[in-house]
Every structure is written in structure tokens, then in C-alpha cells.
Symmetry: C2
Subunit: 340 residues, 2 copies
Amino acid sequence: MENPVLVEVTRGNVVESRHRGAIAVVDADGAVVAAIGDVTRPVFPRSAVKALQALPLVESGAADALGYDEAELALACASHNGEERHVNSARVMLMKAGLDEDALECGSHWPARMEDIARLHRQDAEPCPLHNNCSGKHAGFLGLAKVMGVETRGYVEAAHPVQREVKAAVEAMTGTTLGADQCGIDGCSIPTYATPLHNLAQAFARFGTGQGLEKGRAEAARRLYDACIDEAWMVAGTERCCTSIMQAFGGRVFVKTGAEGVFCAAVPELGLGIALKCDDGATRASETMLAAVIDELVEQDEQEAADLAPWLRPAVRTRKGFAAGEVRATANFGSLLKGR
Amino acid sequence: MENPVLVEVTRGNVVESRHRGAIAVVDADGAVVAAIGDVTRPVFPRSAVKALQALPLVESGAADALGYDEAELALACASHNGEERHVNSARVMLMKAGLDEDALECGSHWPARMEDIARLHRQDAEPCPLHNNCSGKHAGFLGLAKVMGVETRGYVEAAHPVQREVKAAVEAMTGTTLGADQCGIDGCSIPTYATPLHNLAQAFARFGTGQGLEKGRAEAARRLYDACIDEAWMVAGTERCCTSIMQAFGGRVFVKTGAEGVFCAAVPELGLGIALKCDDGATRASETMLAAVIDELVEQDEQEAADLAPWLRPAVRTRKGFAAGEVRATANFGSLLKGR
């Protein structure tokens, strides 16, 4: 089954490039409320499920034992820019567990923003694992390991107690069994499991509403949801889509990006979860798809609509800043979404 | 008509993302020798046609009047990395025309490689238009303007004599008329015209063989072809696909990338031109498609095959360098190509 074109990239009056994808909108009971394309094909959710992977940290009591504040809970769910405050927060999370960056097994990469790269260059420094966009998640894994009283080394391995807890939480939330044949290695070295969009959307309906979750997990989900809203900047950072959209909707919407064109979202007031994948993995398309789904489903006041608008039809600019084209959802996006 | 999936990106045993596209393999007379997908849909060739856009510079005698050497001719056809030698070469091309970087209207952007970005940061400097990957092409346009005795200002505008010459050359080579409705603004501010892959491929069959070209144009094409081969590093730079493949095949193959997933290529010994587009605009896919087409069409000795191999199945790596998956042409790529 071919997923339809959902996003067009134009230059002048011509469509220059096209992105296909699938979207699932599901309630906490697993009923499909709206869908486009193949929502049963397994998709690596990548970072989009970080908030689910953080559930054991909270529900075990480890986050409280370590004294993590809301900003740190948000960082544990983050794909951050590696801006100074992100890096420092990850460092402090590790300190609270009696650890430092040497314990991190996520690897290093440069920060996302040129000004943060420049700072490192002017210091003649290389990035360290704290700069890795997953460092907050990994700090949370290490904190959980310390409170569990297990060896921290190898915490990224599938057989490690922390990853077994994380896998169990994701299985329970998605209502799936995550087998070895659908397992891959994520960019930050932890396991990632290919899961249908349908199940991912249901997981986020549960995450956002607490429905179908036993009390401790529902409370943990509520705390993580609120932390990501209250500290939306920690979840991504300056000028990032997740941060901007969560700030715009003031708690009504939770969104999280994943590599290779994935987004998961929750809209508790509608009782819904959303999961989407751009077939070719492009973030410019997944962001436009996410904005378009929110635009179709969520009532907006004037300010919310104004804040969402830049994500609906971002300009494609020349090197001199002139708008040469745009990225936009297809004209039939709304009817495709409501057609099921 | 839906273009087929031609490139898969895997993680473990699972296909994580998929890229669709079209490919045209055409001879100098316009006969389609092989094709995949819709080769009649207009595509912005972007930088893939720089060598055609450089024909007026050479055939007018301007390149010789200015004393451009082979490296500078190659830079005039380049999408370079903005490494030191690229930047200096563009500066000298301008000097030869009595100009400096202030004349460039392409805009600025950071170099491609982190070490070149670092150098600027350590100097507390911003990139200038010389760093723009198109600066050699633009220096050539300015050189042509000076020799033509026309105003240099506004040389990027469609109505400027230089752009009219460039458009006429591209029209003649592709056998098309480039109208306003298929015109867009390229990233570097010059016009770009959406053209079918079929016609682009034919243009490069002509470019590579000289067939169907009058004597002056055929000689200009030969000189530009040879310059791009002899100075392949100038055309792109360190670790770049175009540079690597042209160096590998020692003159047998000319290749040139274009933004939004485009490649054009010429294989003179087969009398063929190639033009391809990844539907969604991804360069990781267009590079893999290009390598796969070359692999199917071009006889390779052991060294050439070894040099091509890294471009056929590049690894997808974790932040720690572990191979988590790969980018590869689909299993049916060869039969799709030969099916027509």
C-alpha cells in the first residue's frame, strides 16, 4: 500500500519535491479516529517515545530520590539542542547520581546551533557526551540504575536492567511485544523497536489522558507531561518545533519529534494520541505533517493559530533570505485525514 | 504515475525509511536507453546543470581572455565545500576580472566541513559570499559580464545579458524552451527552470560526447568536461561524492549533484547522459541512486569497483561509530532500470 503524498516543497509555481507518509490518530482504547496511509507498518519511533522511556525513572521513585526537578524531568524526555543550559542540566542530573559525563554511553556530537558550536571552537574544545541531544535521557537511565543499585556500565545494552524496565514500559503503553526481529540500535546506542503507528498513537493517548493506566503509571505520565509543558524549552530548545508548539498551546498539546521523520503527540482534551512517519525520513515534512494534523484537530484561538502558522507553511529561502518557495501540506490533507 | 521506491535505509533487519525517484538514461539523439519512473515530469536541476551554465563563459572566449586555468574552469562548474583552496580560487577569479567579493550576489553561507567552520570561528569571522558553494559559478558569470562589456550589477536577474546567454545555452543543450511558468529562484538567486529528466539526460549525453553540438560549443563542452575531471576536487571537495566518483573513473564518467536530490552525469564511452531525481529531495538517496546506475551501466576494473563501493551501501552509524544500518538501492533496482 502506497502512502499518499502529504507534503509538497515548492519553488515558484512548481512542486519541487514531495514527501509521503502515514498518520494515526487513536484514542486510549485503541480506536482509530482518523488515519492516513498504512498505520500498521512497523516504524522505529526513535526519540518520539522518550517520555515513555522515562516512565520507569519516575514511577520507581528514582526521580524523587535523586531530587530531579521539573526541568530535569523534561530533559530526561528531551532531544535537546545542546545549548548551555541543556548541557549544564545534564551535568547536574549526573552529579545528583554521583556520576559525571564519563558514565554516559551515548557518544558525542556537535550542538545544533551555530552559536553553541562557535563557543566550543573558540575554546578549542570538542563536544562531549553532555552535548549529545539524548544526554538528559541517558542521565535519567544512569540515575535509575544507581537507585536500582545495579551496575551502571553497559546501561545501554538490551539485557541491562534499566533497558529491560524501559522496554517493558514501552510494551505496556503500546500494547505490543517488542521482539528481536524488530529491534535496531538507536543513534545513541540504546535499543529501538519498530512499532506500528497505530500502537504508538494509542500509547500517547494513554500517556496524555492516563486512561487504561494503573495509578502509579498514570501519575508518572502526568508528571512527565506537565514537566514537558512547563519546561518545553528543555525538551528541545531555541526555535525548535516541539518547544514552540508546546509553548503555543499551553498544556493542551504534547508533541515529540523522532529522527527519520517521526512525531508522536497527545491531545488530552480530545482523548487522542497521534503518531506519524514521513516515509523518507525528512524532518521538514514530519514537522509540517504534525502542524497540519494539529490544525485539523485542535480548536485554536487567535494567538494559538498565529503561533502554529510558521510551522504550517515555512518558507524555503535563498541564501539572501528571499522566499523562493514553501513547504506545505497537500491541498487534500484535511480530506485524507477525515476520510476514514 | 508513482515513482518506485529505489533506495532503502535500514536499521537492523528493518527498513526504516524509503526514497522514491526517477532516472533517465538517454543518448545524444534523445533515445531513451533505460529509465525508471516518470522522466517527463519537470524537475529543477539546480546545481546539476552548472557545467551547461558555464558554456557561454568558455565559448565566448571570456574564460581565455581572463586567463582562467583548468582549476578555475572546474570551480565555475562547482558546488564546492568552501575549503580554503575553493575560497581563494574564487577570489582570484574575481581579481582576474578586476572585481572582488562585493560583486557577488549569491549570498553567504557557512562552509560544509567543521574544520573550515572552526577556522572562521577562531578568527571571529562570518562567512562571506566567497564561501558560498556557488561562488565559482558566480565569479564566472561576473567574468563573462566584464568581457561582454555589460554592467555587472544585477547579473543574477533573468533579464541580465549573462542570464539570457546562460538560459539560451541550457535551452539548446536540453532541446527545450524554458518558460516563465517553470521558472523558480535558485538558492544562489539565479533563475532555475524545471525541465524533464529526459531532456536533462540528453543534454549531458551531448555534453559528454559533443554529438549534435556545433564546433565552438563542442570544444567548450570538452574543455569543461576535462577541467572537471582533472580538477575534480575543485568541483566539490574533500570526501564529496562528485569528487570521489570522478577521481575513481579517471575521465570515463562526469557526475554533478544538484540540490533536492538531483544528479546529472555523462558516460561518453557509452554515448550516454544520465539525469535522476529523488522525489523527496534527499541527497543520501540521490547519491545512492547515482552510484547504483553507474554500477549497472559502467564496466569496472577492481580499483574502480572498490572506489565506487562506499557510495553504493554507505553505513548508517550511531554516535559512537557503530554501523546500525545502511543506505542501499532496492533489490529490484537493476531489473527496474533494464526493464524499459
